[in-house]
Symmetry: C2
């Protein structure tokens, strides 16, 4: 992989009226984002189905207002998609598929939010609210960049398709079938996906690798029902203890995953890439400070950044046994459950990773308990060549906006659609974004840094021009 | 310890009118028990304070109706006690302190109850409801036995004091101070405590040993807040994993507790006692069947019954990390907590057991996490000589009622008051009861087997006569 990107961006094409438009409509853009964020579009909880529909319709309304055509809310087996397009750029112009998602994570720890998660509130430079950063804000940036060009120029330099997903936070599980069945409609040269964030407010970045993942629920059963710990304690294998033992055995003392064959297909990091990644401002101090953990942990032969982006991991997302709280019962719990997440790197396969967990459990689980593993979902990681036109156009757009050379980086998280587009249609995604590492996405007090968001919209305006063949004028 | 008990009980003293009274008033007794069980007297949850008071007043009303004197609801630092006495048996008659408790466990898993826990319901031979067996039913049996004798004879063969505790399910934590400060009022030859149950409906038993215990909450802290598992997974020691590792290390592969010094003071089982215990109908099949677990577990050199009664244990009562359920977040949880219960045998000390846990944690907890242990409460176990008069009187009473020789048994659970009376006043407790192993006390669908309960009342009537010096007539 060759990092050949112009270091001297030429942005003569971008029309200055676009930026005037962004300034004039800045307050309206924010208000529209606030309205969108008020809708609790939590894809993972069934009770929010009507809100999901409302949020999709809201997104479709934004696409229409931007000037896109053939706007529709499209059904899937799960939550609906919103779609719009503008395909009149003429011969020679590329077609770019802009991806966004309107669904959000739950906000279960309501007491930790300084202002309610679904009553977006501006404090200082930031908009606080669930979805403000991940990713209604990022999606809005795409739509508003398109709007600014379409409304000031009456046309776009490239063909554009916009797809708003309602299931990103649950692994885009209905999207795979939709892409498979709608390959003509979604046909494009490449996709743009601003769900990948940036290193810091001063340092734009383009993501070229994502981890995939597998979610598994593991339950250990012991007695048929909760039993008195005095009467039965000491003669039964406590399911909470047994599950703790199984989980403890999933890593060795060096932090390596012990599941048989787990690392078999892991693509090794090359020296050149390790060198490039070492330049990123994400060292030990960064991870220590941003996590607040007392010390770092993990495979000692890799840097923390490599461990979180280029190495597969196994994490316990939750562990439940017995009944906590004020009135704790003196019981041996009948069962214990854990939600496990394996993060995968190219060329690992989710089903193979799940099988390696099953092989571990078959070998290690004792006969004193029963266990049950449930495959919740999974997706492969993705790796995108850094030398292709879409990557270079985004590089120039970011460079021009921030005045500093963007970094190429890997991401530890997964974005299911990136793998789906790559596998089904052979379409690569240009991954960037204007979310910051401390936006606390998925956590309480999620927020969007508004100055960075506004720069992001400018960068995407630049991108619409830079993505056109050189020399194209409107 | 010598098991010298008369095998040919003489019960000539018991007045037959008492049993007629029991029959005549049988339905009223059940109705009164149902009324008592309707009061959700959950001592462990602060919101039930008013219900605790109501249940104590109800208990005092029962004592008054039985004919006891100086009946009062007495304040403690926590929930109140109910007390009553009858001290006119004359010279030479022993004084017996009858203990009961009116508090109950919570009924948190409401969905698992076939009928609501606080709407007691008779189905078949059983009364279903929280507290029906543990121990409003047992306490009622004591009071009704006293009532039957007092109301038919106008007097009792022995002096009687009745103390109803409101904090048994939370370790009788205010009772220690009350006993210390009221030793004259509570002065007695021995206590009777029917909170210890019986082996089976056909096999009465007397308990001569209880386990003590310690409750500890252990929390492991990692990052300052929940973090995205994609962004941070692999570079921080996941607190749920770290807690699982610590818990896994607390037992070795043979099921022995590894905490340093944990077994130091454990009184060894003597061959004679092991032989006696081996006669009890609580073998492997019993534990397998009553638990429904796929296999038994624990120190192989001891029988399951010995492991649950004469060996100390460490159990995980609950384990909580992350947020379970439908909308699982992709997070590394900021902390993980477990409630641990150590069951102790003579001569272990709760504080020493806690210290051995702390020594383990100090040695084993890695620098990648912070941990915090909290001592919730604890009490010592108890061992009572089997050859004393109270034990023998109860033996004869049970023998006469069931027609089979009672068994002497150990109990795996703890009853805090037994240790408190032994330590503060040198008073032993005669422990028996009419609760059955499958009553599911502390769990859903707790129930009381009514035929056994009615036999229990008869047995306690016999006991009131048998406890008097031989030859005493009313």
């Amino acid at each position: 992989m060759n990092n050949t990107v112009s270091k001297n961006p030429l942005l003569a094409n971008t029309s200055p009226e676009c930026f005037t438009y962004l300034q004039t409509h800045s307050e309206r853009f924010l208000n529209e984002l606030i309205e969108w964020c008020k809708i609790p579009s939590i894809s993972s909880i069934a009770a929010y189905q009507a809100e999901m529909r409302r949020a999709a319709e809201f997104g479709a309304g934004l696409l229409r207002a931007a000037g896109l055509e053939n706007v529709a809310v499209l059904p899937t087996a799960g939550h609906p998609l919103a779609y719009g397009e503008w395909l009149k750029a003429g011969p020679g112009a590329p077609t770019v598929l802009f991806y966004g998602h309107y669904d959000v994570q739950p906000a279960l720890q309501a007491e930790l939010w300084e202002t309610p998660p679904f009553e977006p509130s501006v404090r200082g430079d930031c908009l606080y609210g669930r979805g403000a950063s991940d990713m209604k804000g990022q999606t809005m940036a795409e739509i508003k960049a398109i709007e600014a060009v379409l409304q000031t120029q009456g046309r776009l330099p490239i063909n554009v398709k916009v797809l708003l997903d309602g299931e990103e936070e649950i692994g885009s599980r209905s999207l795979r079938a939709f892409i498979t069945e709608n390959q003509a409609r979604l046909a494009c040269d490449y996709a743009v996906n601003p769900d990948a964030g940036m290193c810091s407010a001063d340092q734009p970045s383009i993501t070229y690798a994502l981890r995939g993942g597998v979610r598994v629920n593991l339950t250990v059963y012991g007695p048929q029902q909760d039993l008195h710990s005095g009467v039965f304690g000491g003669t039964l294998h406590n399911p909470a203890q047994a599950l703790a033992e199984l989980i403890a055995g999933m890593h060795n003392a060096q932090g390596r995953v012990t599941l048989p064959g787990f690392y078999e297909r892991v693509r090794p990091l090359e020296a050149e890439e390790r060198h490039m990644l070492a330049q990123l401002p994400v060292n030990d101090a960064f991870f220590l400070q941003s996590s607040g953990a007392p010390a770092l942990w993990g495979e000692p032969e890799f840097t923390p950044y490599e461990r979180t982006t280029a190495r597969p991991t196994l994490e316990v997302l939750s562990f439940q046994a017995g009944l906590p709280g004020e009135g704790v019962l003196n019981i041996v719990p009948a069962k214990a459950s854990a939600a496990l997440s394996m993060r995968l790197v190219p060329d690992q396969d989710p089903q193979e990773a799940y099988q390696s967990l099953l092989r571990y459990l078959e070998a290690q689980a004792p006969p004193t308990i029963r266990w049950e593993a449930q495959y919740i979902g999974g997706g492969r990681g993705a790796l995108v060549r850094r030398d292709q036109p879409g990557m270079q156009a985004m590089y120039r757009a970011l460079h021009a906006t921030w005045g500093v050379a963007p970094r190429f980086s890997r991401q530890g998280g997964g974005i299911a659609v990136v793998g789906q587009l790559q596998q089904i249609m052979g379409v690569d995604s240009v991954m960037t974004g204007f979310g910051l590492p401390d936006d606390n996405i998925h956590g309480p007090n999620e927020h969007l840094h508004l100055p960075t968001w506004r720069k992001g919209i400018q960068a995407l305006v630049h991108f619409l021009f830079e993505a056109a063949p050189r020399g194209t004028a409107l």
